[in-house]
Structure formats: C-alpha cells, structure tokens
C-alpha cells in the first residue's frame, strides 16, 4: 500500500460528517502503514469496547467481528491494555495476538487513549505491518489523533450537550410536525433519507428525547416551531 497523501490541516476543519472522520482516521492509520483502525469508547464493562455503537468508527471487515461474536472483547490483550493505559503505546501482536486483527496478519498495534470533555474514555487502535514506531513518531501520531478526535467530538459527539437547532434541523422538525416521513422530507428538501434521519437523530440527542412525537412536543414547548 503506498503512502496516502495525508493533509491534516484544511481537511480537519472541513470535516462535517462521520464519513469525513472515517476518512481522516483512515488516512492517519494509512500514514502509519496501518490498514485497519478502530475508534471506540472504552467502557468499564466486561466487553471493553462496542464496535456497533453509533459513535464507533472502524474499517474492520465484518467477518472478523463475527468471529468475536459472543466472546468478550475485554479479554483481548490489546483492549485490556488500552483500558489500563492513559498514554499511547505500541504493541507487538506476535507476542500479544489480538482477535480483532487476527485475520489481517498485522504485526503491530498502536493504541492511543483519548478523552472527551465529558471525561468519557475512547481509544484509537491501529493495526499494521510496520515495526514498533519510534518515540517521536508516537508523539506526533498521538497529537494528530487527539486533534482529529477533538474535532470529532466537537462536530459529532458533543451534540448531546449542544442546545439550539440549526436552520436545517428546525425545517425537519417543522415538516415532521406536519406528519411528513423522513423519505417525504428528503424529497421536499432534496436530501437523502439517510441525511434526514441523521438530522433527526441529532435533534433527538439535542432535545434529550427519544422519539419524533417527543421531538415535536419539545420543539413546540421551547418555541422552536410554532
């Protein structure tokens, strides 16, 4: 795999959706000769990480994950070490074989622990062919990872604590209150149904509600729509 062009600068501030952050994290990993990466919240629970969580980003083939089905990821040596560490570290997979990257043939895992403002723990794990990176390379990598993650948090994760809806979101609440489905709204606004649903998901989180009826009621109460 050739070295991908890696432009953290302008691309970082331009990232607006999960796809963009997928691209950024992937580029970061590729830059380290890592074909696969996982970004996930690290919970205290037994399984350690949940790759199905809507906030998780990864490019592991589903088949590999199927292999972990039913088994606790918390027991994976990489995940276990990631749960214990607060500093970035590389791991030699030959000595600590990981279920996650088993099929990839990766020799090395690079783990970067990350934190949100709300003190939630995340970690970025990259699996690659390269030998263990040097100290300086780890430092730069950790910084880049932290920068991308901070941006990811600001644009995507922090919506829970952001109040106020943007213009697009208000349009969608308004159409929803008129009884339009996501598909109908997508046609009206010239968006994809996926995007409309993304907006609705974001609105639900912003308003701290769980369904459309509550969304409309809350928006009416707070005067967001009339």
């Amino acid at each position: 795999m050739p070295e991908a062009a890696y432009h953290l600068g302008p691309e970082l501030v331009r990232a607006v959706n999960r796809m963009d952050f997928f691209r950024l994290f992937k580029a970061l990993a590729v830059n380290q000769q890592c074909r696969y990466f996982v970004l996930s919240e690290v919970s205290g629970e037994e399984e350690g990480i949940n790759l199905q969580h809507p906030h998780a980003l990864h490019n592991l083939p589903e088949s590999w994950l199927k292999g972990t089905n039913g088994k606790s990821l918390g027991a994976d040596p990489v995940i276990a070490e990631a749960r214990r560490s607060t500093a970035p570290f590389p791991m030699d997979l030959a000595r600590h074989p990981s279920v996650l990257a088993h099929a990839s043939g990766a020799k090395t895992a690079i783990v970067v622990p990350l934190h949100t403002l709300a003190a939630k723990r995340y970690c970025l794990i990259m699996f690659g062919e390269a030998s263990l990176p040097k100290h300086e390379a780890m430092a730069v990598l950790a910084l880049d990872a932290a920068l991308i993650f901070q941006r990811y948090y600001a644009v995507i994760l922090s919506l829970d604590s952001v109040s106020g809806l943007n213009e697009r979101e208000i349009q969608i609440v308004r159409w929803t209150s008129e009884g339009k489905t996501s598909a109908e709204i997508a046609i009206i606004l010239g968006l994809s149904e996926h995007t409309v649903n993304s907006y609705i998901a974001a609105i639900l989180r912003k308003l701290h509600v769980v369904n459309r009826a509550q969304m409309v009621a809350s928006a009416l109460r707070s005067g967001l729509i009339a």
Binding site: M19, R35, E62, R168, G190, N211
Partner: protein, 143 residues
C-alpha cells in the same frame, strides 16, 4: 431502505465519464465481503437521472466533474429532483476544492477521494448508509 429488500443485492450506481473508473470500482467491490453488491454504471448525468428514476438504486457514487457540467453542485440536485432519496457520495480525484465544503447543501451525503476508495472504505460506506440510525421506538409508523 434495506428492511424491505432483505436478501436482494445492494445496488450501487457509479456515474463517471471515465469507463476505467467503472472497471476499478467493480474490481474493488468484488473484494468487499458481506451482502451481495450490484454495480451499475452510466457515463453521464442524464443516464444517471433515468437510472434512479427507474428505481432500485441504493447508493450513488457521483463523479464530481461530468462534462459539460462544472461540478457536483450542478449534478447532484438533478438526482434529488428526480426523487432519489438514497445516499449520494461524490467521488473525485481531488476533493480539496473549497466548494466541496458545501456538499450537504446540495443534497450530497458524503465525499471521498478516488484514491481513498478501497474495500474497507466501501464497507464503511455501506454499513454507515444502510444502517438504521433511529431506534425502533422512533420508527415512523407511530405517526
């Protein structure tokens, strides 16, 4: 979108005036595991509009520059006007132009550089854009 068509292959439409790109994407998709994927290819936007109108397209990969149009801002809306509400991704050999930032306003769901496309990226796109983002209690039938 995928619930009523379970079992059916996922249908991707590539719109690119360079037939070589069709070959490249086809070969890439062959390596993506998971549900079966079908790739349709058209070389211009008019054919693309006809294609989405015909229905059955789950994801559109739209080349940024399609002669004689300048860029996606002139083409993506045409697909939306045709009533297509599935995801549209813009593919381009260079997505660093400033105007790319406006993609959400033109009904585009994501952008990706041609050199970024590999099977893991395709997998992510498929899982991301076919996933049900809203929980069951937020299903539309409550309305």
């Amino acid at each position: 979108m995928n619930s009523d068509r379970r079992g059916q292959p996922l249908k991707i439409l590539l719109v690119d005036d360079d037939p070589a790109e069709h070959v490249l994407l086809r070969r890439t998709l062959e390596k993506v595991e998971g549900p079966a994927i079908e790739l349709d290819y058209v070389g211009d936007i008019a054919s693309a509009v006809a294609s989405v109108k015909a229905g059955g397209i789950d994801i559109v990969f739209l080349d940024n520059r399609l002669v004689p149009n300048n860029d996606f801002r002139e083409t993506a809306p045409q697909l939306r006007e045709a009533g297509y509400i599935g995801p549209i991704g813009i593919i381009s050999s260079d997505i660093s132009g400033k105007y790319f930032q406006q993609f959400p306003e033109f009904g585009v769901d994501f952008r990706i550089g041609k050199d970024e496309i590999d099977r893991t990226a395709i997998s992510f796109i498929i899982s991301e854009y076919t996933r049900n983002q809203l929980s069951d209690n937020c299903a539309e039938d409550f309305l």
